[in-house]
C-alpha cells in the first residue's frame, strides 16, 4: 500500500527528484478524464474544510480559459499543526507533482507556492526541489511568503495576498474558484491534498491515509500517517502515549471540537464516522490536554488567541470574539458568573455568520463545543490558587 511518507527515512530530509522518480515512476501526463478520476476517488481536501477536491478542480477547469491559477497552500497557519511543513521538507516532489498535475488539468498559466514566511526549512526545501524540475515546470512557478497570522492560511486570504499583496480574507461570493488571482478562476489546494493527487495519478486511488499532528500532553508529539481505522488511542500511543493522564482531547485544531478523553480514545479517525458524531478531523491536529491543565483556562487562552487573530475588518468578529474571550477569561480567572455564561450564549449566537469569512464561526464552534462537552466545568469554575500557565 503506497503511503505519503513512504520512502527514505524522514530524518534524512528531502527526497530528491531522482529518488522520487525511481520509487514512484515519472510524473504521468494527466489525460482529459483525470478530473473524473479525481472525482471518483472521493479525495477530500486536507486543509481543514474537507471539500471534494474533484469538485473544485471541475469548477475551476470549467471557467478556465488558460488563465487559471493554482495556489499550493503550505501556509499552515494553525499553530499546532506540523504536517504540511513535514511534507514540504521531506517529500517536496509529491507536492510539486500534484501542483503540476493540477496546472495541466485546469489549464493554469501560473502556480504559486504559498509558504509561511517563518517556515524557512520548508521554503528552502521546496526551492531546492523546484530547481530540480524541468524548465517548463519552473517557468510556471513563483513563491509567495504567507504572513504568520492565523487567517493568512485561509483560501480567500491567500488569493488576496497573491493578487493584491495583502493577506486579509475577502467577502465571498465570488469564491476563489470563480474569481481569484487577476480575476481568473483559482484553485487553492493544501499541500497534503496535492501529494495525494500525485499518487492517485500513478495508482488510480488515494492512499487511504491521513497525516495528523499529535500535540500536547504526549511523550513524542509530532506527525503521524494514519489510516481511517486508526483510533485516537492508537495515534496517541504511536506518539509515545500520554505524558500524564488526560481528561480532554481537542480534535481538529482551534476550529475543532472537544471530546472527553474517555469517549475519545475509542474513536476511529475516519471522516464519515466522525461526521456522524458531529466531529471532524479538520486540519488534523489531535490535541491531548494534560490532566494537570484546566479545560476552562485552556479554552479562555485559545479564545484570546483567536480574538487577537481577527483581521478587524468586520465589527461582529473583532468585538464579538474579544467580548467572548474576555468573558471566558473572567470565568477562568475569577470563577463562574452565571451572567457571563448567559453572555457567552447570546454573543455566540450573534457573532456566528456575521463576519465576511469563517473565522468568527470557527471560534464560536470551538467555544460551543467546549461549553457542551464540559458543562459542569464551566458552570462551577473557581479561580485557581496557583494559575496553570
Amino acid at each position: 500500500m503506497t503511503q505519503l511518507l513512504a520512502g527514505r527515512n524522514l530524518a534524512l530530509g528531502a527526497e530528491g527528484l531522482a529518488e522520487h522518480v525511481r520509487r514512484l515512476g515519472p510524473l504521468p501526463v494527466p489525460g482529459p478524464s483525470f478530473i473524473e478520476v479525481l472525482e471518483r476517488s472521493g479525495l477530500k481536501g486536507r486543509g481543514g474544510a474537507a471539500y471534494q477536491a474533484g469538485m473544485k478542480w471541475r469548477s475551476v477547469e470549467a471557467q478556465s480559459n488558460g488563465a487559471a491559477v493554482v495556489i499550493v497552500n503550505g501556509a499552515e497557519g494553525e499553530p499546532r499543526s506540523l504536517k504540511d511543513r513535514l511534507l514540504m521538507t521531506t517529500r517536496p516532489h509529491l507536492i510539486l507533482d500534484g501542483a503540476f498535475l493540477a496546472a495541466k488539468a485546469v489549464r493554469a498559466k501560473q502556480v504559486v507556492l504559498y509558504i509561511g514566511e517563518d517556515h524557512r526549512a520548508a521554503h528552502d526545501s521546496m526551492a531546492r526541489a523546484l530547481a530540480e524540475r524541468t524548465n517548463e515546470e519552473r517557468r510556471l512557478v513563483r513563491t509567495v511568503a504567507a504572513p504568520a497570522r492565523y487567517v493568512a492560511g485561509a483560501s480567500s486570504a491567500a488569493v488576496h495576498l497573491v493578487d493584491a499583496g495583502i493577506a486579509t480574507p475577502t467577502t465571498t461570493p465570488p469564491s476563489a474558484h470563480q474569481r481569484g488571482v487577476d480575476g481568473a478562476p483559482t484553485l487553492v489546494q493544501n499541500v497534503e491534498t496535492l501529494a495525494q493527487v500525485a499518487l492517485i495519478a500513478r495508482t488510480g486511488s488515494p492512499t487511504g491515509t491521513h497525516l495528523v499532528t499529535v500535540a500536547g500532553g504526549v511523550s513524542r508529539p509530532g506527525v503521524l500517517e494514519i489510516q481511517s481505522q486508526t483510533t485516537i488511542a492508537d495515534a496517541v500511543e504511536l506518539a509515545g502515549g500520554p505524558s500524564e493522564p488526560s481528561e480532554a482531547v481537542l480534535l481538529g485544531g482551534y476550529f475543532g471540537t472537544w471530546i472527553r478523553a474517555a469517549s475519545a480514545w475509542g474513536l476511529a479517525l475516519d471522516h464519515d464516522a466522525l461526521r456522524a458524531r458531529g466531529l471532524s478531523l479538520g486540519c488534523g491536529v489531535i490535541g491531548v490536554l494534560p490532566g494537570s491543565r484546566c479545560v476552562v483556562c485552556e479554552v479562555a487562552g485559545i479564545m484570546r488567541y483567536l480574538a487577537s487573530e481577527s483581521s478587524a475588518q468586520c465589527g461582529p468578529c473583532f468585538f464579538g470574539l474579544r467580548a467572548l474571550a474576555d468573558a471566558c477569561t473572567r470565568i477562568a480567572e475569577g470563577g463562574t458568573d452565571h451572567l457571563d455564561l448567559q453572555r457567552l450564549q447570546r454573543w455566540s449566537a450573534e457573532v456566528s455568520g456575521r463576519g465576511a469569512c469563517h473565522h468568527p464561526d470557527g471560534a464560536v464552534m470551538f467555544l460551543q463545543s467546549a461549553l457542551n462537552t464540559f458543562p459542569e466545568e464551566f458552570a462551577g469554575h473557581r479561580a485557581h490558587l496557583r494559575r496553570s500557565a
Binding site: 475577502t170 467577502t171 475588518q313 468586520c314 465589527g315 461582529p316 468585538f319 464579538g320 467580548a323 454573543w347 450573534e350 456575521r354 463576519g355 465576511a356
Partner: protein, 66 residues
Amino acid sequence: MRLAVDRIKCDGHGQCAELLPELIRLDDWGYPIVAQEEIPDRLVPLARRAVSGCPVLALTLQRRAR
C-alpha cells in the same frame, strides 16, 4: 427579495437599523443584525430606502438565489 450586508464594507453607521427597525437591529457593538427571511411586500419600499441610505453601500437587496 432579502437583505444582505457586505460585512467588510459595513462600518457600523447604524442608519439601516434606524430606517428599517422592523428587520434590522444593532448588536452590542453597533453592527447590524439583519433578518434573513424574505422581505414582506409592504416593507420593500422601506428596505430600498434603507439600502440607499447606507453611507457606504454595504446594504443590498438580493433576489432569492439558489
